[in-house]
Symmetry: C2
Subunit: 377 residues, 2 copies
């Protein structure tokens, strides 16, 4: 082994969009949540962070690059992840003296998102999952995704769920050190592969920033979420879309209600979000059953879940309203959607939506992080 | 007394805007609420319903007219009010045989609002308060405002609070027949006459309609409102504006959070409302204390409470943002407001506000229904 040998490992990691929302921390340093949550991992064919982790005795400093821009690697959250991963590598090196001393070398981490970071698509979840997964690969760690999820959580809470594909739970845990606050697989992608997601990316808007002091928050944590976690896992196990959809919309509503009940209030939903909700309600009403479900994270973007068989009913209606010229309908997935007519009474809503949506992303449930041979450095 | 004698009485009745919100009914027929509420009665110089009640043996049918348009008088809510008032009149006629038999005559009721009905300004509250008060005057009923509030409540829940001036509570009551679900005076207008209200009337928007199935609703009813009622009465008794403002904003937030946590969700707050909230927060932040408080009823109109001494800080800031050309700044109250500069960082918010606000109304705390000599018929 020469002094200048460079070790590399690369991975894709996916975005996940929660259907039972994570909101509130019982420990801000460790990102320990006040309630459990559950998400769908979205396909890396459409949305992913690609990260290469490399190390070498020749690297004179540690660096982190995202989308070609240097990032601060000294932040407490990133350092917590690196410290944990190095410590696991050290155990290997101690047990096997012939193993290269990677834990002593500087790291060079290079990441690329294939989607706009500013789009409010939980890029930090994919980012920290990719960082942790790529270094775990570089270090040949035997850790399971659940073990790595404990580390990724310290980078960004919801990152722990991006270590898995399919349908993923995050157990809030009870331990003070967070060792049981980890992600787990509720069901693989293959269990219910028909799940699709249409993302309406809202035109840029600045976020509200505030501290949560909601009187409804404790109610959500204590009385709303626990029952919903159980019901959602059941709906997924039984591939019960109406059940999944009902819980998804209710939990999004409840989460945003809790945000609104703070001083000052946080109003992530704007007029574009309101319009998207009305379109979803109109689609479900027209079908006489729940065939789509909206959910909103901490921003105005709507993520609309539906099953492949209802692509025209759901994505087609949105295509009819938004117009097929809008960015995102190109490509095989978008072209195959047949634009439907604008539901009656939604003409005004359509106008609001056309003004507020900058692009759409068509995707669906996907697999967990993929090790790839294409290195970014 | 000739067969053709016409008996008349006329009244003004005020609008009230709740600071602890009424939301949810335990009895829809009697308009019995699931929680107590509290409001500020606004000045009839600016906002009022003017109603003339007349009756005559020569009237061949009963009629109700609002803003020159005939209304259906046979609705259950109106009829409940008329039945109760007639029954009280009958007692007088039984006790005093010389009293004219007004209870047997047809009524002609004519009403005029001095504000646009469509502006979402709780016109039904002023309307039913004026209807009940004018007929009570016509019938020379000895009933107290609290007794009349029990009747007006059956017309429109919040109408019961418009029987009083100043600061008014509505006790939810516990009786099944609603006899203890009545309004009461928390404090007269003269106790705290400096209270002002700036109403931002949003450009017309259709309302969502839905049934409340909120999981947070029970929490609001059982745990949030009771303590707030007590704290609000204390703030009013002590003329503690920061306390009043804090509770007012929190309760508006909580009410709208509860609306949002329904399926389908009710989102009364639009981008214009969001902008108004941000301006209020900026004004309070700049002053380092609470000098204004927003509240929203079931619609996007902001009502901003402040004290007379902070007119320029509050109304002046809005005048600076909205421009003095907007309808509503004319007249003595509006002209006297000195337009301030747009707070830093609120340039974009101002644009949203200018687009969404159609007119402003400047008013303040006012007195209760006034008997007037000007008859409409």
């Amino acid at each position: 082994m020469a002094e200048t040998d460079i070790y590399r490992a690369s991975t894709f990691a996916p975005v996940n969009i929660a259907v039972i929302k994570y909101w509130g921390k019982r420990d801000t340093k460790l990102n320990l949540p006040t309630n459990s949550s559950l998400s769908v991992t979205l396909s890396q064919d459409d949305l992913r962070t690609h990260t290469t982790a490399s190390c070498s005795a020749s690297f004179i400093s540690e660096t982190l690059t995202l989308n070609d821009a240097p990032q601060d690697i000294s932040g407490a959250r990133t350092q917590a992840c690196l410290r944990e991963l190095r410590s696991l590598r050290q155990k290997i090196e101690t047990a096997d003296p012939s193993a290269p001393k990677l834990s002593t070398m500087n790291l060079k981490i290079v990441s690329q998102n294939n989607f706009p970071t500013a789009a409010g698509l939980a890029s930090s979840a994919a980012g920290f999952a990719a960082l942790v997964r790529s270094i775990a690969n570089l270090y040949s760690l035997p850790s399971t995704p659940t073990e790595l999820s404990r580390i990724a959580r310290q980078g960004s809470g919801s990152a722990c769920r991006s270590l898995f594909g399919g349908y993923v739970g995050w157990n809030q845990g009870t331990q003070a050190d967070g060792r049981d606050s980890v992600a787990y697989s509720v069901a693989e992608q293959s269990h219910w592969p028909e799940m699709r997601a249409l993302i309406l990316v809202a035109s840029a808007e600045k976020k509200d920033q505030t501290v949560a002091t909601s009187t409804l928050f404790q109610h959500r944590v204590a009385h709303v979420v626990p029952g919903r976690m159980e019901a959602m896992e059941k709906a997924i196990r039984e591939r019960d879309f109406p059940g999944f959809a009902d819980l998804t919309m209710r939990d999004s509503n409840n989460f945003h209600a809790t945000c609104l009940d703070t001083s000052p209030p946080i109003l992530y939903l704007n007029d574009t979000s309101r319009a998207a909700i009305r379109v979803c309600n109109a689609i479900n009403t027209a079908r006489g059953k729940l065939v789509c479900a909206y959910t909103f994270d901490a921003g105005p973007n709507a993520v609309v879940y539906y099953l492949a068989e209802h692509t025209d009913a759901v994505a087609g209606t949105f295509k009819g309203i938004l117009g097929s010229a809008l960015e995102g309908w190109e490509g095989a997935k978008g072209r195959d959607v047949n634009a439907g007519s604008v539901p009656e009474g939604l003409e005004n809503v359509g106008e609001v939506l056309r003004k507020g949506v900058g692009r759409v992303i068509l995707t669906g449930v996907g697999d967990g992080p993929r090790e790839v041979e294409e290195h970014l450095c």
